[in-house]
Symmetry: C2
Subunit: 275 residues, 2 copies
């Protein structure tokens, strides 16, 4: 089985792919550089599964992923993987904490560790990079007294030593990844979490009618987000997650929502794996 | 008047601050490094206005801003500024387009110009930086045959020459900035766009009741987004934008929503400046 994921190695999505691969025989994981490329490779049948980041409890929704699922590709979500996000301070071997002169990481990672960094690395310069894995690579290639905020995997890959573990400020910092497969390759379970997108007429009260349906069938909505229609200013589509243990309720509600909307996609009904 | 904005100079927020400053006598604009710092400086009265990025039509909502407004500070939105986002290819003077060997920019800017870059700079290496202004600075300090994707302002600030203008793929690429001020320093207009956040009981149908109120008073909801409560997994608060020309409708609906929710904040009712 071929599994594509958002690379490079050492990213959080790589962690999710490694966890997912464990339960599958003969799985190859293949890094991609862009989220839409992974989703298109799944749609075209080049790979069997694609793993993409979808939502972080601090960063919010990954708009590349949500927009590709809504507008660009037709694939099915068949699993979600939730990983706790843990940040470490890592540096080249031999450097000790008091010698660190600069710290590199993604702006969100620096922000997520701000309390700790302000206490323990008060006068150390903080420099922003495009990814946490990129910071680790950069530090590994330099002779400066530098450290990176990165994952265990990134530190290992680039030969860095971890000076401090788990330095993030919030305990509930998690990232949600979606595993997607080609349409038609699997049956919906009709239980677990259900993700849909829909577009309504652009009139006051139209969204409310749809949420009425969700309420009537006792589904618990766990996420809602409006996304602007591309090239149609002021028009929106809505992404909704909902949960129910009753498969018949979900099935009936989806039929009704499809009938009452102009645009409708059932992205998947799937189980959650929490690590 | 002191106006704080998300710096450094040359960012899109700096552009918004310069446009806003034009209409005000004796205004100083002051760069800040972090969004929460700007909002807290407004709350504490250190500065009169704060300008922060809130939403991009491709990147989505800036979660630093939305979360700070919901959870951390009490300030009032008194204006929104909408700017079209234009990307340029810029390099040191004397370098011509065919000589460019590497292009630096923020991952989102590279993605927003992908079609053009694939056609015109097919074999040129693309390197991700933490901001578009950072890419311009980096290119200006190097002797490599490098270019940056950045704003007009960033190119001017770092002495770069613009090789190609307006290379973004989408025409409707816009960013929305909020101007905030201290609570109590201004009266709500009760017309224009209204932004609220609220939390409900965690039961199916609770959100639907609130949207019912919005529908009854004929308000047009233009954005909705759920955000997880910090430290309470599975609990959500909702951010909603709505528009109405009828001040009495907005005022009445807000009173009703406040009565029917556990947590409620009226973030502001304000006018839009579109450039």
């Amino acid at each position: 089985m071929k599994i594509g994921y958002l690379g490079p190695e050492g990213t959080f999505t790589h962690q999710a792919a490694l966890k997912y691969k464990k339960d599958i025989k003969n799985a190859d994981i293949i890094p991609y550089h862009h989220i839409p490329d992974i989703l298109r490779a799944v749609e075209d049948g080049e790979i069997d599964k694609g793993i993409v980041p979808f939502e972080n409890s601090i960063e919010g929704t990954v708009t590349f992923t949500i927009d590709a699922l809504i507008f660009d590709v037709n694939v099915v979500i068949d699993r979600e993987i939730i990983l706790p996000i843990r940040h470490n301070v890592a540096a080249k071997k031999g450097l000790s904490k008091v010698d660190v002169e600069k710290i590199f990481s993604h702006p969100q990672a620096l922000a997520q560790c701000r309390k700790h960094l302000n206490e323990e690395f008060k006068d150390v310069e903080k420099i922003q990079t495009a990814s946490t894995a990129g910071a680790a690579k950069y530090v590994s290639e330099s002779d400066g007294r530098w450290a990176a905020i990165c994952t265990d995997e990134a530190a290992a890959k680039y030969g860095l030593e971890i000076l401090e573990k788990d330095i993030q400020d919030e305990n509930h910092n998690e990232t949600r990844f979606l595993v997607v497969s080609k349409q038609g390759t699997q049956k919906f379970a009709y239980e677990g979490k259900t993700s849909i997108v829909f577009g309504t007429e652009n009139r006051p009260g139209e969204l409310y009618k749809i949420l009425d349906i969700i309420a009537i069938w006792d589904l618990n909505m766990t996420k809602i987000e409006s996304r602007p229609m591309k090239n149609e200013l002021g028009k929106y589509v809505f992404y909704v997650d909902m949960e129910s243990a009753n498969a018949a309720d979900i099935s009936d509600a989806l039929k009704m929502i499809e009938r009452k909307t102009k645009f409708f996609k059932h992205l998947g009904t799937y189980h959650t794996i929490r690590h």
